[in-house]
């Protein structure tokens, strides 16, 4: 890895700006057809899943395919459709149903809060400790930037819980970011919404989700209420585990770096690109895998170009990797199991004070060499 000082950030910014502009000028029917096709698959999976669950009246075996289809639908909705649409990747289509301003997704948090925290804070201040609240979600110590505390000893357990309840964690996290429930107000909050509005939106969306999965459809099943309820819980859990696992692979693998606020003050566009590359990591895998991750498997490309339709990241990846090589910037990519292994390791490592300190010293030596 080159020293930061020796990188020509203006040239780097130019290269990435050019890629951005050239892809944007190509956007057209191909992208529109793609996202519409995924939406069709989502609808088919969701509707057939719900219907098949009702058939458990005849045989309990129907619960399994029904639950899996529903989980598939939720994953597609959250990852490949919702997350990407809400980033504004398809706004140029001018279709009100595929638009970042209107889209609502099948998850506990309401799209408005999510956009405020995720699109702005996480994507602008990626991995800046203290500004990017997505870094460890305020629950986990994922680097030595935070001092070790006793509760970190349990953080592996905390992590497992967070994964299972991920949608609720995220929904709560967004409001916590605004300090709606407890604590002092942030001075520089950008939102013009009052606490009561934020709370109302939180409860309104959460209520709708609970009603749908845990009241309406189970009731529709009549005597099979409990079975359908269980299958719906199952589908939500599968989705939670999957999304949290993929998201952790994007920012918490072994080599991902963190930054301080001071470091990033007045940074140029080129430095911003640079930080995005160091703060993210990619996963390799077959095409279906990329779709199921909503192309967050190309987290680096997503962070460089958050509003380019995600299915194009895959073809951009080699170009980005070549640029990384040219400028001597690490490009962190690996198979799912390899990357996930390092995530678990990281959570474990930073659970303990001594090991962490030890590890940092090593890291420092490495960068110095």
């Amino acid at each position: 890895m080159k020293h930061k000082e020796s990188i020509d950030f203006t040239a780097l910014a130019d290269e990435f700006d050019q890629i951005n502009a050239s892809v944007k000028s190509q956007l057209g029917s191909q992208d529109a057809d793609y996202i519409r096709r995924i939406i069709k698959i989502h609808r088919l999976a969701e509707i057939s899943g719900r219907i098949i669950l009702m058939l458990c009246f005849f045989s309990l075996w129907f619960l399994l395919p029904g639950m899996l289809l529903l989980a598939l639908a939720k994953i597609l909705d959250n990852m490949e459709i919702g997350h990407n649409v809400m980033h504004g990747q398809y706004d140029w289509m001018n279709d009100p149903n595929i638009n970042s301003r209107n889209f609502e997704w099948d998850i506990a948090s309401d799209s408005g809060s999510w956009k405020r925290v995720h699109n702005h804070e996480h994507h602008t201040y990626t991995n800046i400790i203290g500004k990017d609240r997505d870094y460890g979600y305020g629950l986990l110590r994922m680097s030595n930037d935070l001092p070790w505390r006793k509760k970190n000893r349990w953080q592996f357990f905390t992590y497992l819980n967070l994964s299972l309840l991920f949608e609720w964690g995220i929904a709560y996290h967004e409001l916590a970011a605004e300090r709606v429930f407890v604590g002092k107000k942030k001075k520089d909050r950008t939102s013009s919404l009052s606490d009561s509005e934020l709370k109302r939106m939180f409860f309104s969306k959460a209520g709708k989700q609970l009603f749908k999965d845990y009241v309406f459809f189970p009731l529709l099943a009549g005597p099979m209420f409990l079975y359908v309820l269980a299958a719906n819980v199952g589908a939500n859990l599968i989705r939670n585990l999957w999304t949290s696992t993929i998201i952790f692979c994007g920012h918490f693998t072994e080599n991902v770096q963190t930054f301080t606020e001071a470091e990033c003050k007045g940074e140029s566009k080129g430095e911003w690109y640079y930080r995005q590359m160091l703060g993210s990591s990619n996963l390799t895998g077959p095409k279906w895998f990329h779709i199921m991750t909503g192309h967050l498997s190309c987290q680096i490309e997503h962070h460089l170009f958050p509003d380019i339709p995600a299915f194009r990241y895959y073809e951009l990846a080699p170009k980005v990797e070549a640029i990384a090589a040219k400028y001597g910037i690490p490009y962190n990519s690996g198979s799912f199991f390899k990357q996930y292994g390092t995530v678990l390791q990281r959570i474990w490592t930073y659970s303990w004070p001594d090991k962490a300190a030890h590890k940092i010293n090593e890291d420092h030596q490495q960068t110095e060499n």
């Binding site: 069709k40 504004g88 602008t124 709708k208």
Partner: protein, 368 residues
């Protein structure tokens, strides 16, 4: 017992809870489109029956709207939507045929001028084929044929003739005896529907139609008006055409004692899209209209619309201020903006733009 309003509120809540969409139709739209590609949850559908050239620059689109489309009143317009390269564009056109014609044949006509740099009007002339489907809204607009029998003065310029074609066809088809005088201005090009005007005035002595070429007879003036239609100040006036014609004409009529309440007008057609001026040497000031807040602001070149809105203390939502987070999205109603991130110009019609990376090119109207 719940009232109907609370019932519909509950229905809406349940729909949102179950589908995450505003309506169940919108949720199943992608599935219905597998069978009927042109189906849309909102708006109606219309089949293209014919595309007829009226002149080199102007064509009429003959459409057969679906049953969902109600009817129009002579003079009203519709918004139509076409998809070009995956992008949906909305445009507004007057219906140039009469309601009677729709009653009898089920067809309506839109008469469209190919805008010089207009993407949509050019594309439709080439890209639409008989049998294609487009979507359109119900008819709208207040510039309509009056019910009374009083004498009318209709003044049109260029493509502003389209609502009047609907007026006259409707009057003719309903055997009206109203006294109507149409003055149709053109500049050195043949008037649209020339043959129809001839036939109409022959068949209906109560219709008088004057075609004026401003190249030969000059722009509208008091003298000219007196000569063409001596009793013009005794009539209810309807004006449709470009901005210049309407304002001059209106002032003239008022000067000659026509009451303001007897003058109706419709500004016609999008302002011609001149080739976008290059941003760097653009020194003409443009006006940005914030429609919801009812504010007009003069734009300095190079200033982003976000900065402009903030300077006017309108405080739109924003985030990264660098084109990444899409928090500053706002619907643009009209006008061209330049995107400093992609170095591209926008379309002229309705679409969402990012305020923080957009600069106004000419006058722009924002829905904020």
């Amino acid at each position: 017992m719940s009232t109907p309003t609370s019932f519909s509120r509950h229905k809406k809540w349940v729909t949102q809870a179950l589908t995450n969409h505003q309506s169940f139709k919108a949720y199943i739209e992608p599935l219905v489109q597998m069978v009927k590609p042109s189906w849309q949850a909102s708006d109606c559908n219309a089949e293209v029956m014919d595309l007829r050239n009226e002149s080199e620059q102007v064509y009429s689109l003959v459409l057969k709207p679906s049953k969902k489309w109600m009817r129009h009143t002579a003079g009203q317009y519709v918004h139509i939507q076409v998809t070009i390269e995956g992008v949906r564009y909305n445009r507004t056109f007057s219906v140039s045929s009469s309601p009677k014609h729709h009653e009898v044949s089920g067809l309506i006509e839109l008469t469209i001028r190919k805008q010089e740099h207009g993407k949509v009007t050019q594309w439709m002339a080439q890209g639409l084929k008989v049998g294609d489907h487009i979507s359109l809204t119900q008819a709208q607009g207040e510039f309509t044929l009056p019910n009374h029998q009083e004498p009318l003065l209709l003044i049109a310029g260029g493509s502003g003739i389209t609502p009047f074609r609907s007026f006259l066809q409707q009057l003719a088809a309903s055997h009206s005896t109203s006294d109507v005088h149409l003055i149709y201005y053109n500049q050195s090009i043949a008037p649209l529907f020339a043959i129809e005007w001839q036939q109409l005035s022959q068949a209906h002595p109560n219709f008088k139609i004057s075609l004026i070429d401003t190249q030969i007879s000059g722009l509208i003036s008091a003298q000219q008006l007196h000569k063409t239609c001596p009793d013009f100040d005794q009539r209810k006036a309807y004006l449709c055409g470009p901005h210049g014609l309407i304002t001059t004409c209106r002032d003239l009529l008022i000067e000659h004692g026509v009451a303001k309440t007897d003058i109706y007008h419709e500004l016609f057609g999008p302002k011609p899209v001149s080739k976008p001026p290059s941003i760097t040497n653009q020194n003409q000031a443009s006006t940005v209209t914030f429609a919801q807040s009812n504010r007009l602001v003069n734009a300095q070149s190079q200033q982003s619309l976000l900065e402009l809105a903030e300077a006017a203390e309108l405080n739109p939502p924003s985030g990264c201020r660098m084109g990444i987070c899409h928090q500053c999205k706002c619907s643009k109603k009209q006008g061209v903006v330049y995107n400093t991130l992609t170095n591209t110009y926008s379309d002229t019609g309705t679409e969402d733009i990012q305020l923080c990376v957009s600069i106004a090119v000419g006058d722009v109207t924002l829905d904020f």
